[in-house]
Amino acid sequence: MQENVLLQMSHIEKRFPGVLALNNVDFTLRKGEIHALMGENGAGKSTLIKVLTGVYQMDGGEITVEGEPIVIKSPQDAQNKGISTVYQEITLCPNLTVAENMFIGREKGEWVRHKEYEKRADEILTQLGIPARSTQQLGNCSLAVQQMVAIARAVDMKCKVLILDEPTSSLDDKEVNMLFSLMRDLKGQGVGIIFVTHFLEQVYEVSDRITVLRNGELVGEYLTEELPQVELVSKMIGKELEELSSLGETEEKNIVPSEVFYEAEGLSSSEALPFDFSIRKGEVNGFTGLLGSGRSESVRAIFGADKVNGGTVKIKGQPVKINKPVDAMKHGIGYLAEDRKRDGIIAELSVRENIILALQVMNGMFKPISRSEQEAFADEYIKVLNIKTAGRETPVGSLSGGNQQKVILARWLLTHPDYLILDEPTRGIDVGTKLEIQKLVLKLAEEGVSVTFISSEVEEMLRTCSRLIVMRDRHIVGELKGKDLNQTQVMKTIAGGEA
């Protein structure tokens, strides 16, 4: 058993200012195994990978490869020591040939020996069964083949440890199968593969072992066949099943029989698979699922934030077209983005300017809102939402995360939306503000506003939503309401029913 160990990471510690990102984490990879590394957002799996590939330097612990202690200084150094990584975004050059992509950056001498590289590349491609020709331009190959070429490059560099970081996110089913058979081949040749993914089914299809991380700590290492899906999910989320059941039933919420406000059939976008969805006036519902399950992509499709591909949408029974955010806004839909830094706030602008932004867009640029009106609006919402800021002219960037979130909320409330989509509105903000936002959501619903709420924290969703749509691997797998609205049921549905 012990000779079989290829890579041993022990007591790994990594600190960032104010955060202990990895706390005493152990990880063991054996020869010829596919080892899935699992964990939710912030669990520390990408930090662990970055320590292993030399992107980060660890603050404590030890890494050994085949019993030899090693220090990894940079990604290049990692490659030279037999640790190769294939990233989700393909890090090859689409304008070069397959052969060049396999050899560039590691040739010896100043002359490029095209013929020799092509011959060698073809040998490797044939040996690994990769359907590509060495002289093809890489950009002409499918994404799956491009990924395989990256793997072939790693294999040719005599890699012992192959890290596949979310390799399947942009592949279709057939391509995933191609990738998996290549992974199994490499496993047969004694390569140790670390497989990072958020697709549970793929983990069970291909991996031998699973290591789960949570909040920067090791939860445990398990044989895949001995760990049922539902247990894996509870380990990732951090609630024991028994503990969940003992919480008892949450109080049954009244489902207000009101008119349907928004209805979509077969709605799909460049990011989201077709789905059906509807929400009533004054209803609060939620999308839940693990990270990457497609929950954000679905609500983005409702708002027209990604390119909408198909489906019919009705608002109050009338068919409408929502192809871009402005369309959605004109129909009274507001959307609070998941990543407020990227999609939401404009840090350099003041609180006032950020608040009036959406209203101004809806009014159009020819109907400016007067300065005094802007100031009145800003003051009103700073008071109503209890936004802690030095003044309405303070740049939003200087506010705390929770208060930034309130500013964006104010922006949408000012437009008096009929339907508000809140994607992770409480991420990274303090508990007090979280509660305030939850209360606000319920108050809005009482006033007749429909709200779709997304949160990684299931408890939070259970407190606010009367209906939960559960997603897994980009499909809606269940809809929970009434009695079923409890943690155990949510976990079971996320994990895939049979527990």
Partner: protein
């Protein structure tokens, strides 16, 4: 197994495709000019004149092609050419030696390449800004050296300037029965040598392939183990060096220095590269294409003049139109290609 033993024909790469289109358009255009306009277009000397007049443009375009393949831009090339011309003229007129003047030309070009390359690659300043500054600096320096045009007065240089390769079988027989041979200036030989060397660099040398990788995807190039900073540095050095050569060739052609020499040459060089199939976004391009890009641009200008539109703005307008046409053509061709591939 077929890929192991039987050699399969690959579809053209984007670089090859764009180049082929340019060559095709050039040939069609030239034949049209020959049949419709006749005159000078029927003489082989027309082509040689186009090369004689544009040798230095071809040389800077080679440099620009390198930089653009790497995903950068260098708009100082025209001004550097001009500075080199003026410096060499003054040096020669003050009793300098031809060989040293060549070194001076290379030195000035190399100097600009080193400084601009350093600023762009190691201090990571926008190439457009850096080379814009370089352009103003070189223009200013040229004017400081001499406000008035300076003619070279140097025996050894004059010999070099007047030296021409004459090929009689490519010439034509004048009405009086004398054979007028085709005349090719030495600058053209230098320009063609630059094309060949840059072609070899880009195709067979590691550095050249690294330019493509860097222009194709910079992050990937880094992950693939390429020293991106050094590679980018090299691209600006080569462009500077070629500007130096271009300056000397320019002087061989005109035999005089003038503060307004090579005005707008950088824009013509960018236009030549783009028409020749180099993409401003980087990673795609070829110097053979660039050569034909220059020829296409020049042919258009000649056609405009031969059609009787003598005012200089007509050349500008047609150049602008051509550039638009080619960029449109490239983006249509490339997007159709990528659409066909994705399915």
């Amino acid at each position: 197994m077929k890929n192991l033993f039987g050699k399969r024909k690959e579809p053209l790469t984007n670089t090859q495709l764009l180049m082929t289109i340019t060559i095709g358009i050039f040939v069609v255009m030239y034949i049209l000019a020959m049949t419709l306009l006749g005159g000078g277009f029927l003489h082989t000397q027309q082509i040689f004149d186009m090369l004689n007049d544009n040798a230095s443009l071809i040389i800077v375009s080679c440099g620009l092609t390198i930089v653009m393949i790497g995903g950068g831009i260098d708009i100082s090339v025209g001004a550097v050419t001009s500075l080199v011309v003026m410096s060499c003229v003054l040096y020669l007129n003050n009793g300098g030696n031809v060989f040293v003047s060549i070194l001076l030309a290379l030195g000035i070009g190399l100097g600009f390449g080193l400084v601009q390359g350093f600023l762009v690659s190691y201090l990571e300043i926008q190439p457009f800004i850096v080379t814009l500054a370089g352009m103003f600096f070189a223009r200013g320096m040229t004017t400081i050296l001499s406000v008035n045009p300076q003619k070279v007065d140097h025996a050894a240089f004059s010999k070099l300037r007047d030296a021409k390769i004459e090929i009689s079988w490519l010439g034509y027989t004048a009405k009086n029965g004398n054979v007028v041979p085709a005349r090719i200036e030495l600058g053209v030989v230098v320009a063609l040598a630059c094309i060949v060397l840059v072609f070899i660099l880009l195709k067979y040398l590691r550095l050249g392939r690294n330019f493509y990788a860097m222009g194709g995807n910079q992050t990937s190039a880094l992950m693939l183990g390429i020293n991106v900073k050094r590679t980018r540095f090299m691209s600006y050095i080569l462009s500077g060096l070629l500007s130096g050569i271009s300056g000397f060739v320019f002087m061989m052609h005109t035999g005089a220095g003038n503060a307004t020499n090579a005005a707008g040459m950088e824009m013509n060089a960018i236009a030549s590269s783009i028409i020749g199939g180099t993409l401003l976004t980087g990673g795609v391009g070829n110097v053979i294409g660039t050569l034909f890009g220059t020829l296409t641009l020049t042919t258009i200008k000649k056609i405009v003049v031969s059609s009787g539109l003598n005012d200089p703005w007509w050349q500008s307008i047609t150049t602008g139109g051509m550039l638009c046409f080619f960029i449109l053509l490239q983006s249509v061709v490339l997007s159709r290609r990528s659409k066909g591939k994705k399915s």
